[in-house]
């Protein structure tokens, strides 16, 4: 049965409220940037490359249960995941085919974590320092960390993990991530140097880990959010990183250990009694039910799961009627959805055509009619709240102005759309929300510009193969990108020449690269990124449609600070989710109002 509504409660997902919260976050981050501490990252420069203060980290130790918590044997958190990506629980085995929507990367600690307030805080590394040139980074590992086979976690484990990522025999699906950044990485993935020459090595002792970069990389600590380690001994014994997909061979240094992995049914994690790290978790067991995402909402309604994300618009409508107090909306991975063009081919080689497209999309209507709580209008690339975001200042460039759009198209030689070729808009593996938005976009372009556009839905592999082909095989499409790490360099690098799209602008490239390695005043670095984004928005290689604010449902008995407003006022289980890459697991517990018999779920 659906849960009853609290009809007097304010709508927790009111769009204006979300916009306000994001604006607040945006202002706070900008203010902090100016003060020299943006998200503990750009601030590293001003602070002499030191770790953010210990006070920036969460108070994680001693996760005793609060009074309103269910008893320990009922502390079971149940959530769904997609079985088509259940190859591994580990990042360094596969990024795109690992469990990634439920409980993942939790069998060891990342060097750093994201806090609930979206800040980089210590994880497996208790502190880190950088050399004066910003190219040598030393991380001090928590000496308490142990594998549950009784051996200590050392720099050797992290080194072996990075070497495994770079090993051509592994052919990892995320090798691009450290390209041009980690010393020796490009050569190692090409098999040109031995893996032991990679710029990741032990420091003064086995708890000191050193990274060398080819350029000053003030963003490296943020990047190392993606550093949950595999065990060197297990890697050597098994020959690959798949050992954690089998409880019999799995070994954990994280807050949980895997106790069951039943194909296409479920993965069970139980609290690791040998865990000595800082992410102390109240929940005793996590059950991941592997099920097609289309069935999640029914499972949620039927109390078979406690939490889900990514509901379809129709599901959100039902939830708004039946259980509005269980709907949460956060910033996710600061994802931006956008139209993109192959600017090397007609008609999109003309700036006026691209400008015309940018002016005739009524984002407010899309927000009101389709997105609801799932997104806010976008007129620029960096989402509100993301470091260096500058949405308000850039809003007028791609604003909704149908007359200006028509004029731009006429200036390009296509008055009222006459002579404009019929277009196909490629859409990547669309879920219902994407289908609705893409059809609305096609309709607005047709209606306002007098051109003919049909949408063409492609599966993920066909789309990405064509998008990233050189030269690209997609003339016009609709897609999204979300952050990998909390730095403007990451998001803006998507548009660097030779990257995801065919657009090339040397001024933009220079600014982004210069800012990325800039180790001076953080405010100056932010300004460079903002100048680069302005070029991006003005040259319109993409028309920015909306910033995703992903919707989640959580049962009333899912409790803890994690679903309370953070200091930016955002109330949601933050990205990446229930993982040791962030502090979510330490801040979530099951309330005593949960249905009984949870230990058998």
């Amino acid at each position: 049965m659906a849960d009853r509504t609290n009809e007097t409660a304010p709508d927790p997902i009111d769009s204006r409220e979300i916009s306000q919260r994001l604006a607040t976050l945006d202002q706070r981050i900008r203010r902090r940037s100016v003060l020299g501490g943006a998200l503990g990252l750009a601030g590293l420069a001003a602070l002499g490359w030191q770790t953010p203060s210990a006070a920036a980290g969460p108070a994680l130790q001693g996760a005793s249960l609060p009074d309103d918590a269910a008893p320990p044997d009922e502390q079971v958190f149940v959530l769904p995941d997609d079985p088509t990506t259940d190859k591994t629980p580990d990042f360094y085995e596969s990024v795109y085919e690992r469990i990634s929507q439920s409980c993942f990367d939790i069998l060891s600690d990342s060097l750093v974590r994201l806090s609930r307030n979206i800040e980089i805080v210590p994880g497996a590394a208790t502190k880190w320092t950088a050399s004066n040139d910003g190219q040598t980074w030393t991380f001090n590992l928590d000496p308490n960390l142990m594998w549950n086979d009784g051996t200590p976690v050392t720099a050797r484990d992290y080194i072996a993990t990075f070497q495994y990522g770079a090993d051509p025999k592994h052919a990892w699906d995320f090798t691009w991530f450290y390209q041009g950044i980690l010393k020796g990485w490009d050569e190692a993935i090409a098999g040109k140097i031995p893996l032991d020459q990679l710029g990741v090595h032990q420091g003064a002792d086995e708890h000191e880990l050193v990274f060398e970069t080819v350029v000053p990389a003030p963003y490296l600590p943020a990047m190392l959010l993606y550093s949950p380690t595999l065990q060197a001994a297990a890697l050597q014994k098994n020959g690959n990183g798949l050992y954690n997909a089998d409880p019999a061979t799995s070994v954990s240094a994280g807050p949980f250990k895997i106790t069951e992995w039943t194909l296409d049914q479920r993965v069970v994690y139980e609290k690791n009694p040998d865990y000595k790290g800082t992410l102390q978790v109240p929940v005793n067991k996590v059950v991941v039910k592997l099920a097609d995402p289309k069935t999640w909402f029914t499972m949620y309604q039927n109390n078979e799961i406690d939490y889900m994300q990514g509901p379809a618009p129709a599901d959100i409508q039902v939830a708004q009627q039946d259980f509005p107090d269980q709907i949460y909306s956060g910033v996710g991975d600061f994802r931006t959805w956008y139209l993109f063009f192959d600017v090397t081919k007609p008609p999109f080689d003309k700036l006026e055509v691209r400008q015309a497209f940018s002016h005739v999309i009524d984002r407010d209507a899309i927000k009101a009619k389709i997105l609801g709580p799932a997104g806010i209008p976008a007129y620029s690339w960096l989402a509100p709240g993301f470091p260096a975001a500058n949405g308000q200042a850039l809003k007028s460039i791609q604003n909704y102005d149908v007359a200006a759009g028509k004029k731009a198209l006429a200036d390009a030689g296509f008055p009222d759309g006459k002579g404009f070729p019929n277009l196909q808009m490629w859409v990547r593996n669309p879920v219902p929300l994407d289908l609705s938005v893409s059809q609305a976009l096609a309709s607005m372009l047709q209606e306002n510009l007098g051109i003919t556009i049909e949408t063409s839905n492609k599966d993920q592999k066909t789309f990405m193969d064509a998008l990233t082909a050189k030269p690209t095989e997609i003339l016009f499409g609709f897609v999204s990108y979300g952050m990998d790490f909390l730095d403007p360099f990451n998001m803006l690098s998507v548009w660097l020449s030779g990257g995801r799209h065919s657009w090339s602008n040397s001024q933009f490239d220079d600014l982004v690269k210069k800012a990325a390695s800039f180790t001076g005043d953080p405010a100056e670095r932010t300004k460079m990124f903002q100048d680069a984004e302005k070029i991006l928005v003005e040259d319109v290689p993409g028309v920015f449609i909306y910033h995703a604010t992903p919707v989640q449902f959580a049962k009333p008995w899912v409790k803890g600070a994690v679903l309370q407003p953070d200091k930016n006022g955002i109330k949601a289980l933050h990205w990446p989710g229930y993982t040791a890459m962030d502090t979510v697991p330490a801040e979530l517990y099951i309330g005593k109002d949960a249905p009984k018999g949870r230990e058998n779920m």
Partner: protein, 306 residues
């Protein structure tokens, strides 16, 4: 007969080779790198490493021969979707689940369909016939995922009598088998009715009745046997369809069966799994048709297999 059967099995081997060549060529012709799921372009060095790792750097004919060479030794490779087990292990793990649901559906659909079709035929153009026809038409036009949705909403979400999905207890079997059996049951009922009606009008039935045989004797001794041949021709080949699973039923009820792999293998460009599934289906169909032909000779002595 033995020579005929051996000949048919030999013919099936040729069919399998032809199917494997066509499938292999089609999988490679479909655009989309099996590993192109990332957000950014994979570095050329990693693309080359992947190609070497999976043998994609060799000419297509060499890749095919390597595959077939391994397959003949029972090695169908490792599925890209689930690399901790072999293709053979994955099918061995999942197919029994699908067969369990499929057999359940057959055990409900066929007897019930035959019963309803017989009742309809013997009460031709009467209210019972119309009622059966209505139910059968409903079963034919309603896709099983619609039926599944209704069953889940009613019996799982509203009444809470059964779980909405999952696997492991007898309760998990009820709703998927019901949803899965409605379509085949309707099909069986319609064919049985049609076959019986045609046979009931035949001259030999009139003769049998003229001899003074009871309706029951006429139906069981003369009509049913003759009506079975067209029925078997159409309905026996339905069985492989049922036993190889329904993507909709398995996904909606979260059944860890083989059905979903027919779809996900295509979307994920899981070449080893696609090849194995197509060959599996070809074998099952080949043997089903062989069985059908053998059954013909048992039902009608005039038919000879050569």
């Amino acid at each position: 007969m033995a020579r005929y059967i051996l000949g048919r099995i030999g013919g099936l081997a040729f069919v399998l080779v032809a199917v494997s060549i066509v499938t292999f060529a089609l999988t490679r012709a479909v655009p989309g790198d099996p590993f192109a799921s990332g957000e950014r372009q994979v570095p050329a060095a990693t693309q080359a490493a992947r190609a070497a790792k999976y043998g994609f750097d060799k000419p297509l004919w060499r890749q095919y021969l390597n595959y077939m060479g391994s397959a003949l030794h029972g090695d169908f490779g490792v599925p890209f979707q689930s690399p901790t087990r072999t293709v053979t292990q994955l099918i061995a793990d999942t197919w029994p689940v699908t067969i369990k649901i499929g057999l359940g559906a057959i055990l409900i659909a066929y007897p019930l369909g035959i019963l309803l079709g017989t009742i309809a035929a013997t009460h031709r153009n009467g209210p019972i016939d119309y009622a059966v026809t209505f139910v059968a038409s409903l079963g034919l036009v309603l896709p099983n995922f619609v039926v599944a949705t209704w069953l889940i909403l009613l019996f799982a979400v509203r009444l809470g009598w059964f779980p909405s999905g999952g696997w492991g207890t007898p309760q998990h079997l009820v709703l998927p088998i019901l949803a899965y059996s409605l379509g085949p049951m309707a099909l069986v009922a319609r064919y049985v009715r049609t076959c019986l009606v045609d046979t009931l009008d035949a001259d030999f039935v009139r003769t049998a009745r003229a001899k003074g045989l009871s309706d029951r004797r006429v139906l069981s001794g003369h009509v049913a046997r003759n009506a079975l041949i067209p029925f078997i021709t159409v309905m026996l080949p339905e069985i492989p369809n049922i036993l190889t699973g329904s993507i909709f039923i398995e996904q909606m009820f979260r059944i860890p069966g083989l059905g979903r792999f027919f779809v996900t293998s295509t979307f994920t460009r899981d070449y080893p799994m696609i090849m194995a599934l197509v060959l599996l289906v070809a074998v099952v169909w080949g043997f089903t048709y062989l069985l059908t032909d053998i059954l013909y000779t048992m039902l009608d002595p005039r038919i000879r297999l050569r």
